[in-house]
Amino acid sequence: MDLTLAIIVTVVGASTPILIAALGELVVERSGVLNLGVEGMMLIGAIAGFVVQFHTGNPYLALLCGAAAGMASSLIFGFLTLSLSANQTATGLALTIFGTGFSALAGSSYSARPVSLMEPLFPAELAAHPVWKVLFSYSFPVYFSFIMVVVIWYFLHKTRAGLILRAVGENDQSAHSIGYSVIGVRYMAVMFGGAMAGLAGACFPLLLTPQWAERMTAGRGWIAVALVVFASWKPFRLLAGAYLFGLVMTMELYAKAGGGVLSIIPSELWAALPYIATIVVLVLISLRRDASTNAPACLGKPFLPSN
């Protein structure tokens, strides 16, 4: 029982950054834009968060600056793909290359320097019992990620602005013709995605391992991209998917450390599982022939008003 609870706590830690980054990417993709630069924006957020935490020791400011740095880097992507209609795939890849290089350069004088982890949000007495620990032992970003799932769901499905955003993603030409600013909406979405990716990156030094290391996100930005597809662009499925991915990533280690049946699965299969699962899910949702579960119709295509 205690072990199960302990596993849950670790899974929450592993899932939170990919959930936050994926939530941002979900909104971006719902607006019809595919930003493959998530990994790069996360790294920029990670170094920004680390530097601010190192110098100020204020984790909230660190998260904020991580998000701001991620948003700033997403503006490069936004300007190229939205204002100049550049190819989104190539721009996203370039953003990841940029983020990797920029963060390594900015972080080169911050090696061998620890920071302190972000404190839990609730007082320690609340989390004393193992069962309550599962609920109350986390710091702010964990609760933030849950709140954002609901907020984004509400925004997309219950608000007028969300409706416009989805309309822009499904049919940009008609959204444009009834007077909505396709480019404006997409800019907002891309900036939101950048802020979320940056915040997710800042979670690495603040929540998971209080240090700066080059490429410390180690491919989790790509997992976030996979996750959005896995969740078929739905916030609550994204929540479930993020925890499933987090569980897969974590269970490998618990299985290996504990022995038992699961430990005979080769680690390569564990590592490949999220990606294979994503393809399987893509196939399954397309077999259902339910248009609403499919990708936003304009995903990845530049918008050029036809009139």
Binding site: N87, A94, E214, V225, A226, E268
Partner: protein, 360 residues
């Protein structure tokens, strides 16, 4: 006074050639300024990264060897992208091609014969095609976005390498290190210029690009790919099946990526190691764009990228520029190029405020 973009009647040929050149030039200028501002020798950085590899003839062999896989994969991708088929999983197809070639090399280990290399080549291409056919199948049968599936498959393929070299293919003499045994002589690519490292893959890359250029500009196949990409609806009326085009595009790009994988494993690597995936498949996407999706342009773009890689290492040793700078220069180059793309289809017009409101 305002600026306004105005669609050109026809894409500008001049801009298509001028923007990549301008992108490289701008990268050099702005890169020099930025790196000077943050305390490095900015001018030296640009000189070492962009010029030294070109002016030092000793580096030419490195450029050829580094550019070859980028060109081969880039040519395949440019054909696919022309047809609006977004295969971004070339890295995975490259890996599977390399693995299939490795399989043949290990099966024929200790044997001799001229047929081994061609067989490996076929296996590499077949492997790349097979891996590319998964996204092709999903796209044509189930309308699943090929960008996402081909990307996911890349990550799965990396794990396949680790699995094989840690388990069934582990070198019996490698004292437990995760790698295969060294290929025997017959499974290694010959060097074509004695005293250098230039292997058979380098002329093959150039040949592939020239053949692809010829086919794309002179044949029905090429016409079909271009038409489907530029005007899908017109293409359908013209009797070109979209699905068939997707298949062709994926198989060609996958097969070429697989070929590049074979040439790399049989040339420079000569055994499968965990470091085999070196992002050639992703870098080739940049190459394809920098080369304007034109096979001949891809040759130039492949060499330009190779220059930045080789030059980035030179700059580390000569002026102490960190490795990260190479990535920043490459990203800048691509940003400028992509920004310039719009000038091909649009022209910038200066307009007076009142006229612009009328138009809008």
């Amino acid at each position: 006074m305002q600026f306004r973009l105005e669609k050109r009647q026809e894409p500008s040929k001049f801009m298509a050639y001028a923007t990549p050149v301008a992108a490289v030039a701008l990268t050099m200028i702005i890169g020099a300024i930025i790196f000077s501002l943050i305390g490095y020798d900015g001018v030296g950085a640009v000189r070492e990264i962009f010029l030294t590899p070109l002016t030092n003839s000793y580096k030419w062999q490195d450029l050829g060897v580094k550019a070859a896989p980028l060109i081969i994969i880039g040519v395949g991708l440019s054909i696919a992208y022309r047809a609006n088929v977004w295969n971004i999983g070339a890295e995975g197809q490259y890996i599977v091609g390399g693995l299939c070639a490795t399989g043949i090399a290990l099966l024929t280990w200790g044997m001799t014969g001229w047929w081994i290399l061609p067989l490996m080549m076929l296996a590499g291409m077949a492997g790349g095609m097979a891996y590319a056919s998964i996204p092709a199948l999903l796209r044509t049968k189930l309308k699943v976005n090929e960008i996402l599936t081909s990307l996911m498959l890349t990550y799965a393929s990396v794990q396949l390498i680790y699995f094989l070299i840690r388990g069934p293919w582990k070198d019996p003499m490698g004292i437990g290190f995760p790698q295969t045994r060294l290929f025997s002589e017959a499974a290694r690519l010959p060097t074509i210029i004695p005293g250098t490292i230039v292997h058979l893959g380098v002329p093959i890359a150039v040949l592939v690009a020239i053949i692809a250029w010829f086919i794309m500009s002179k044949s029905v196949f090429g016409y079909r790919m271009r038409v489907v990409g530029a005007a899908p609806h017109a293409a359908r009326y013209g009797g070109f099946s979209e699905n068939k085009t997707i298949w062709l595009a994926m198989l060609v790009s996958g097969g070429l990526a697989g070929l590049a994988g074979m040439l790399e494993i049989a040339g420079p690597f000569q055994r499968m190691v965990p470091g085999f995936p070196t992002n050639y498949g992703f870098t080739a996407i940049i190459v394809a764009f920098l080369g304007r999706l034109n096979p001949l342009g891809v040759i130039v773009a492949g060499v330009v990228l190779a220059i930045t890689f080789v030059g980035g290492e030179v700059a580390q040793t000569t002026i102490g520029l960190p490795n990260a700078a190479t990535g920043i220069f490459q990203a800048m180059m691509l940003f400028f190029l992509l920004a310039g793309d719009i000038l091909i289809k649009y022209r910038v017009r200066r307009v007076m405020p009142q006229t612009s409101t009328e138009v809008a």
